[in-house]
């Protein structure tokens, strides 16, 4: 076992009787990148939390350079050279960059904090990995991707032997991803073992040496990346071949349904002067880099974000959509990007989560809610969407990401919308469930609904949309036909206004 820097042997873990890890192995060699793959709910994060001392495993052992260990808490793990970039950004945004980086191990001079050393160490660290930020800036003033880079800087600032990166690129720009990969290259040379968790196949193939796949908490296998194909990985992850990642586009766009003219929002991040038409039965994609204003555009359409000018026309008639409530009455539906933050009511059951957007419809004449009606509709949605749940009384929190997403889509379908705004509808959802969501979206378009899909995954946009609107730094850079456009075209549009608006901001 000495040849491995880290050995995870036969780890099992159950939560309230449900087994989430079952006899899992992972062996990481020094100076390699070992990717850990699996669908959502496969147990990757749980395994890493056991390693890091956040959870205590029920069975199994960890060995660091051949010696058995068991971290009692994160502090213990960090002291022993195991650090982790968590999937959720765990940061104190009110405090400065250097306060966050040295949190838990502030350098002191006697009884006092050595601020000068903190600042100098932060600058040295940033210099090493090519970040240009003032250590005294509060995190609340940084963008999400800058914050993510700070988190990565922090993780490598520990004298690490093992570093776990759990979806580190989820909000990074391509340039930052390149920087991160350079950093990983340096760490490899220093003999660090990197455990890399990501859903993005291209990244996995770009930087991994080994890939270990988990499925439903079980160990499926470990492969050297040479000779491994994407199909093979997907096969290992889902346990079957996915003939095609996308269902056939059978929808046929009709007449113009919604027209948007000169839409501009008030508060930053601002969307400037967006105009487009959406046809009935069409799936329009919205592409763009992080911070391009895609979500802001959806929020403006749905009345979450204040508009200063521009109009929205439905069948030629202007509508205001001044608030989400009005938008729902205008037959709009908006699936938000952050499911956990703004989508689900985690502790409430499936019935509540399914019917809440349409709650007015379940009142009887006296104005009281009728349970049987709500339950009937919930049953219909659970069946139609093939939502996997023990019962409709189950809190939505206990469902997998994909099933949660189906419940939320079902919620909006109950309002019988004509225009669906879907913001990252497959984020954090496993491969199998993604396909089902794609099929669902195409079916909706087939039934004459107009759909806008925002996504960061280019293949997804190309796979299911008819046209793609590209945003660039708050401006609309253009609309392309999905069948004729290449990824390069879209990328060029996405970067069109990058320099332009920087000039305007300064």
């Amino acid at each position: 076992m000495q040849e491995y820097l880290l050995s995870i042997r036969g780890v099992s873990k159950s939560f309230s009787g449900v087994r989430v890890l079952n006899d899992v192995h992972l062996d990481v060699r020094a100076g390699t990148v070992h990717s850990l793959m699996g669908e959502n709910g496969a147990g990757k994060s749980t395994l890493m939390k056991c390693l890091f001392g956040i959870y205590r495993q029920d069975a199994g052992e960890f060995y660091l350079a051949g010696k058995p260990f068991n971290f009692t808490d994160p502090k213990h793990a960090l002291e022993n050279g195991v650090s982790m970039v968590h999937q959720e950004l765990n940061q104190v945004v009110q405090r400065t960059i250097s306060d966050n980086i040295w949190l838990g191990r502030y350098p002191t001079k006697g009884p006092f904090i050595d601020e000068r050393k903190m600042r100098a160490d932060t600058l040295a660290l940033f210099h090493r990995i090519n970040i240009h930020l003032d250590p005294d800036t509060p995190l609340s003033r940084l963008s999400v991707s800058q914050r993510q880079m700070v988190e990565i800087a922090k993780a490598i600032s520990y004298d690490v032997k093992i570093i776990v990166l759990d979806e580190p690129t989820s909000s990074l720009t391509d340039n930052e991803v390149n920087t991160l990969f350079d950093i990983i290259g340096v760490l490899k040379k220093q003999g660090v073992g990197v455990i890399y968790i990501s859903h993005k196949m291209d990244e996995i193939f770009r930087i991994s040496d080994y890939v270990t796949v988990l499925r439903d908490g079980n160990y499926v296998g470990t492969e050297h990346v040479e000779g491994l194909t994407m199909d093979k990985v997907v096969n290992m992850m889902v346990g079957r071949d996915l003939e095609d990642r996308f269902p056939p586009k059978t929808n046929v766009p009709g007449d113009v349904h919604m027209s948007v003219r000169g839409l501009t929002t008030k508060y930053p991040p601002v969307v400037h002067d967006v105009s487009f038409d959406l046809r009935r039965g069409e799936i329009l994609g919205v592409a763009g880099l992080v911070g391009a204003g895609r979500t802001e555009l959806m929020e403006a359409l749905f009345g979450v974000r204040t508009k200063v000018s521009g109009e929205i026309l439905i069948d030629g008639k202007p509508i205001a959509n001044a608030s989400p409530n009005r938008s729902i009455r205008n037959s709009f539906a908006y699936l938000t990007e952050e499911r956990r933050e703004t989508g689900i009511y985690p502790l409430a059951d499936i019935t509540f989560n399914s019917t809440i957007a349409n709650i007015e419809a379940y009142r009887n004449r006296a104005g009281f809610l009728v349970n049987s009606k709500m339950e009937k509709d919930t049953d219909t949605q659970v069946k139609a969407m093939r939502i996997k749940t023990p019962s409709k009384r189950e809190p939505i929190r206990s469902l997998s990401g994909g099933n949660q997403q189906k419940v939320i889509i079902g919620r909006w379908l109950l309002t019988n919308p004509d225009v669906l705004l879907l913001d990252e509808p497959t984020r954090g959802i496993d491969v199998g469930a993604k396909y089902e969501i794609y099929q669902l979206i195409i079916n909706l378009a087939n039934s004459g609904k107009s759909v806008i899909v925002v996504s960061s995954e280019m293949p997804e946009l190309i796979g299911i949309t008819n046209r793609i609107l590209v945003m660039s730094n708050g401006y609309m850079a253009g609309i392309v036909d999905t069948d004729t456009a290449t990824q390069t075209d879209i990328f060029n549009l996405a970067t069109k206004y990058l320099n332009n608006s920087r000039e305007a901001e300064v």
Binding site: P74, L78, E79, V92, Q94, D99, G104, K154, Y267
Partner: protein, 342 residues
């Protein structure tokens, strides 16, 4: 291009102006109230009034620092007043004149002044530590944990209060060494003001220059982040409550002499004044945000207003309305600062 850029710039300046006004609205309103007071009664601007205001602020400030730390932790402390009351009663019972007729402990020798201070601080810190422990270990909301403590402490304090030789009657007749120490002056400066200043400096250093302080802000801002970074969150929480308890102990010690007597009702409602001052001073209930200077400003503003309104003979009940409105307005404006506009 340059045209639009200029237009954008000028509109941004306007927005910034507005933001600046909104950010400081509470200070502007308070400034206006003070101006109103000064105009209606110009004698308000006198060294004597200034002295009185500082003296009246001293104990409040010390208490505000205690609960302020807890508010930075996203908590609150309703037991502050009773804790102060207990500390005041303990101090009073131990520092009565030898010739006073109804002494709490008839045979108590004259103690060094520091002994009752240490006992008062230890008792307050003990009960406050229980608050911290309950909050940290059982994840009970501080409002409820300290509500329970507030009621419990009143019981404990009243039993102690009634257990003295003369029975349950106000404790007075303090040792002059003690009253001189608290309400005397040094080089023309009231001692209370000096103590409050010293404690302000100590608290400032603790909050800004020590690991304890950084951890306080980190745990208050995002306990999960602090935990995964290896901060002992429970320990930090308990320490913050212990520190609050010590400050309540000091506050109670000073308060008994300041008022000249102590009973089981002493300190009643002080928590609300202290919390209000913190909030007006920008210590945010959402946690992780708050400065020593904010607590100082909050306490001073409150004292100036209440002293000033009484000074110009404003109706007592009308004063309550103004204070109440100021508190809510301060919180609303504070929230506005952090709410993201969409």
């Amino acid at each position: 291009m340059s045209g639009t850029a200029t237009r954008r710039l000028s509109s941004m300046t306007k927005e910034q102006w507005k933001e600046l006004l909104v950010k400081n609205a509470i200070y502007i309103v308070i400034f206006m109230i003070i101006m109103f007071i000064i105009i209606s009664e110009p004698s308000f601007l006198s060294a004597n009034v200034f002295r009185n205001i500082l003296t009246q602020s001293a104990v409040r400030l010390i208490l505000a620092f205690g609960v302020g730390g807890i508010i930075i932790l996203q908590g609150t402390d309703l037991s502050l007043g009773r804790s102060v009351g207990f500390a005041a009663v303990i101090t009073g019972s131990l520092l009565q004149r030898a010739d006073y007729a109804s002494r709490f402990y008839p045979d108590m020798p004259a103690l060094p002044l520091v002994v009752p201070l240490l006992i008062a601080c230890a008792v307050s810190a003990f009960f406050s530590a229980i608050n911290g422990w309950v909050v940290a270990k059982f994840k009970i909301h501080p409002f409820l944990a300290t509500l329970g403590m507030m009621i419990t402490l009143y019981g404990v304090l009243s039993i102690y209060f009634a257990s003295g030789a003369p029975g349950p009657q106000p404790i007075g007749g303090f040792d002059t060494r003690y009253t001189d120490f608290v309400i005397g002056s040094t080089l023309g400066i009231p001692n209370l003001v000096i103590y409050a200043a010293i404690i302000s400096v100590i608290v400032w250093v603790l909050w800004n220059k020590t690991t304890f302080g950084k951890n306080l802000y980190a745990v208050g801002g995002n306990p999960e982040a602090a935990k995964v970074s290896g901060v002992n969150v429970s320990k930090t929480i308990i320490l913050v409550y212990v520190m609050a308890g010590i400050l309540y102990g000091i506050g109670g010690y000073l308060e008994a002499a300041r008022i000249g007597s102590a009973n089981n009702g002493t300190g009643y409602g002080y928590e609300l004044d202290a919390i209000a001052a913190c909030v007006v001073g920008g210590i945010s209930f959402s946690g992780g945000i708050g400065k020593v200077s904010g607590a100082v400003a909050g306490v001073l503003m409150f004292t100036v207003i209440s002293y000033g309104m009484t000074f110009i003979g404003m109706d007592q009940y009308f004063q309550y309305i103004i204070k109440g409105v100021i508190i809510v307005a301060a919180v609303a404006l504070d929230a506005k600062k952090y709410i993201k506009k969409t």
